[in-house]
C-alpha cells in the first residue's frame, strides 16, 4: 500500500479516540506485595497471588487508589465515591488467571477533560472514564508472533497497577492525537503517578480512528490501532490510517472493524484480528474484593494537595515572571526543570536572564524532561544564580561565564571558586585597560586610520584585539568606552 500516491478525492472528517494505559509508580503490585521495578530477571518478581496459583486472593493496594484519584482530579473528573472491581474474562497466556481484575460498570472516575494546544489555539478533549486494573505478563516470541513455534512467558509485570483512561472521540487529526498524548503524559509525570516511559512500556497507547464524510452525523466504522510506542509513532500511524481509510472509502470499499498493528519499520498498519466478533468478557463483580466507598474527606485532601499542573504553570510563568510563551513552554516541560528555574529566580531575580541560561546552556547538557538528572545535577539552581551574579556585578564577562558554566557542570564546584582558581576575573581596572588600549592603538595604525576615515566597523576589530590581549577577560563595556574616548582624541 503506497501512502504517497494520489491524495483522497472526497472530503472526510477524522475522528480519533485514545486509550492510554499508565503503569502507576507504586512500590508494590496492584493486588499483592511483589515489587514493581523494571528490568529484573524473568519470574523473580512473582508470588502465588500474581502467578494466579490455586487458592490465592487479591488485596487492593491503597496507593494505587490514591494515585488514580489524584489523576482523576487533575483531569477534572467526577470521582465515583462508590466503585468496585470486576472480572474481565479471556484466555491468554500472559494473564495467569485467564481473567483480569479490572473495573466495568462502576469505574473510579468519569467525565473529565484535558486541554491541548493545537494550531495556535486551545482545544478541550473530553475524558470518558478512568479506571484501575492489573497489568499482564510479558510474552517473548521465538521469532515473531506469527512464525514462532513457541512463546516464553515472564510474569514479573503481571499484577502491576495499570490506570486506563479512555478519551472521548473528540480528536480531529493525528497531530491532535500526538498533542493529547504529550499533554496527558506531562500531567501524569507532574503528578508523580507514572514515569511516562514509553520505551519501557510504562505508558502505552491504543487509538481508535474512523472517518466520515464532512458534515455527516454518524460515526464511521472504528478501527483500533495498537503498538504505538512513541508520540511520533502515534502521529505517523494515524496519518497512515487516515490515508488508507480515505482511499478505501473513495474506492467505495467498506472499512472492516478490526484491530491493526502499526509496523514502525515498514511504515504501515496491518490487520491483526477482526473485532467484528467482539469478545464476550463475561464481566461480573469481583467476589474476592469488597466494594470501595471513598470518604469525601479522603478525596478532598487529595484535591487540596494537587500540585500546579503544566498548563497552569506555563500561564503563571508568562504572567508572573513576564516570560514569553516560548520560554514558558520550554521551562515547564518537566516539573523538575520548572522547579529548577524558579529556585534560580528566587536567588537571582531576573527571570529572562535565568531563562536564557537554562534554555541555552543547561539544556545543552541535560535533557529537559529527565526529572532525575535535573534534580541530581551538581550545577544546582543556587550555583547557577551564583554564576549569574558574577556576570551581573562585572566580575566576569558573559563569554567567560559560558566557560565557567562548563567547568561548574563537570566539577560540581561553585562559580566563585573556579573564577578565583583560574584567575578568570574580568579586568576592570581602568588604568590597566587604558595602558592596554594605548598599546593596541599604537601597534595597529591601520584600523585607527580606517576608523578616522569613517569606517566604524574598524572599532569592532580594535575591541577584538584588546579582548585578545587580555585573554578575553577585559570588561567589554569598559573597553568600548575607553576606545571611544581615545579614538575621538586620536
Amino acid at each position: 500500500m503506497n501512502a504517497r500516491s494520489a491524495p483522497a478525492t472526497k472530503s472526510y472528517e477524522t475522528v480519533i479516540g485514545l486509550e492510554v494505559h499508565a503503569q502507576l509508580l507504586t512500590r508494590s503490585k496492584m493486588f499483592c506485595g511483589c515489587p514493581t521495578s523494571f528490568g529484573a530477571a524473568p519470574n523473580t518478581q512473582t508470588c502465588p497471588v500474581c502467578l494466579g496459583m490455586p487458592g490465592v486472593l487479591p488485596v487492593i493496594n491503597r496507593s494505587a487508589i490514591e494515585f488514580s484519584v489524584k489523576t482523576a482530579l487533575a483531569f477534572g473528573c467526577r470521582v465515583n465515591r462508590a466503585c468496585r472491581f470486576a472480572r474481565k474474562h479471556y484466555y491468554y497466556p500472559d494473564m495467569p488467571k485467564n481473567y483480569q481484575i479490572s473495573q466495568y460498570e462502576e469505574p473510579l472516575a468519569e467525565e473529565g477533560w484535558l486541554e491541548i494546544e493545537v494550531g495556535g489555539g486551545v482545544k478541550r478533549i473530553g475524558i470518558q472514564r478512568l479506571h484501575l486494573e492489573e497489568d499482564v505478563g510479558k510474552l517473548v516470541h521465538e521469532g515473531t508472533l506469527e512464525t514462532a513455534h513457541a512463546s516464553l512467558v515472564d510474569y514479573n509485570r503481571a499484577g502491576v497497577p495499570l490506570m486506563e483512561t479512555v478519551s472521548k472521540p473528540e480528536l480531529c487529526s493525528p497531530e491532535e492525537a500526538a498533542a493529547y498524548l504529550r499533554a496527558f503524559r506531562a500531567v501524569l509525570v507532574y503528578l508523580g503517578v507514572c514515569d511516562g516511559n514509553m520505551e519501557e512500556g510504562s505508558l502505552r497507547c491504543d487509538a481508535n480512528i474512523s472517518l466520515r464524510e464532512r458534515g455527516a452525523k454518524e460515526l464511521g466504522t472504528k478501527v483500533e490501532i495498537k503498538n504505538l510506542n512513541s508520540f511520533r509513532n502515534v502521529q505517523r500511524a494515524l496519518e497512515f490510517e487516515v490515508e488508507r481509510q480515505a482511499r478505501a472509502l473513495d474506492a467505495g470499499e467498506r472499512i472492516v472493524q478490526e484491530t491493526r498493528l502499526w509496523d514502525a519499520d515498514r511504515g504501515y498498519t496491518r490487520s491483526m484480528r477482526s473485532k467484528e466478533y467482539a469478545h464476550d468478557y463475561r464481566y461480573f463483580p469481583e467476589p474476592d474484593l469488597v466494594p470501595l466507598e471513598l470518604e469525601p474527606s479522603f478525596i478532598a485532601e487529595i484535591q487540596a494537595n494537587l500540585p500546579e499542573l503544566p498548563r497552569a504553570r506555563r500561564q503563571r510563568f508568562v504572567s508572573q515572571h513576564g516570560l514569553p510563551p516560548y520560554d514558558a513552554d520550554v521551562l515547564t516541560q518537566s516539573r523538575a526543570l520548572a522547579e529548577y528555574f524558579e529556585a534560580a529566580v528566587r536567588d537571582f531575580p531576573n527571570a529572562k536572564v535565568v531563562s536564557n541560561w537554562v534554555m541555552s546552556e543547561l539544556l545543552r547538557v541535560l535533557p529537559g524532561d529527565d526529572e532525575a538528572a535535573i534534580r541530581a545535577t551538581k550545577l544546582t539552581p543556587l550555583r547557577l544564580a551564583g554564576l549569574l551574579t558574577l556576570i551581573d556585578d562585572g566580575t566576569i564577562s558573559g563569554k567567560i561565564a559560558k566557560d565557567v558554566f562548563e567547568k561548574m557542570f563537570r566539577s560540581g564546584d561553585d562559580a566563585a571558586s573556579i573564577v578565583k582558581r583560574e584567575g578568570l576575573t574580568q579586568v576592570a581596572d581602568t588604568g590597566a585597560l587604558e595602558r592596554i588600549v594605548d598599546d593596541v592603538l599604537a601597534a595597529n595604525p591601520r584600523p585607527v586610520d580606517d576608523f578616522k576615515k569613517g569606517r566604524s566597523a574598524a572599532k569592532g576589530a580594535l575591541v577584538g584585539l584588546v579582548m585578545k590581549a587580555t585573554q578575553g577577560k577585559a570588561n567589554p563595556g569598559l573597553v568600548n568606552s575607553i576606545l571611544e574616548e581615545k579614538l575621538s582624541k586620536a
Binding site: 491503597r62 497466556p93 513455534h149
Partner: protein, 95 residues
Amino acid sequence: MIGDKDVEHVARLARLALTESERARMREQLSAILQYIDKLKAVDVEGVEPTSHAVPLLNVMRDDEPAPCLPQSEALANAPDRVGEFFRVPRIIED
C-alpha cells in the same frame, strides 16, 4: 432449551474440547437443569439489590509495602514446560 450451537459456543468460550457425545449429553442435562432453574422467573425481584457479597464489608485495602517474592525456582517449579527462566507455551494463533 439450550441448543447444540449454544453448547458449542460456550464450550469454546470456556476452552473445553467436547466430544460429539459429550456435547449431546451435556445439552440434555443442561436443558433439564435450566428448566428447573427457570422457576426463578416467577420471583418478583423488582427493586431488589443483588447480593454480591455475603458480608457488608467496605474499603479493605493494604499499605503499599513490598513483600518478599517467591524465589525464581519456586515460581517455575510447577511449570509443565520450563525453558531457562521462562514458562514456555505452544505457538499462539490469534483467535
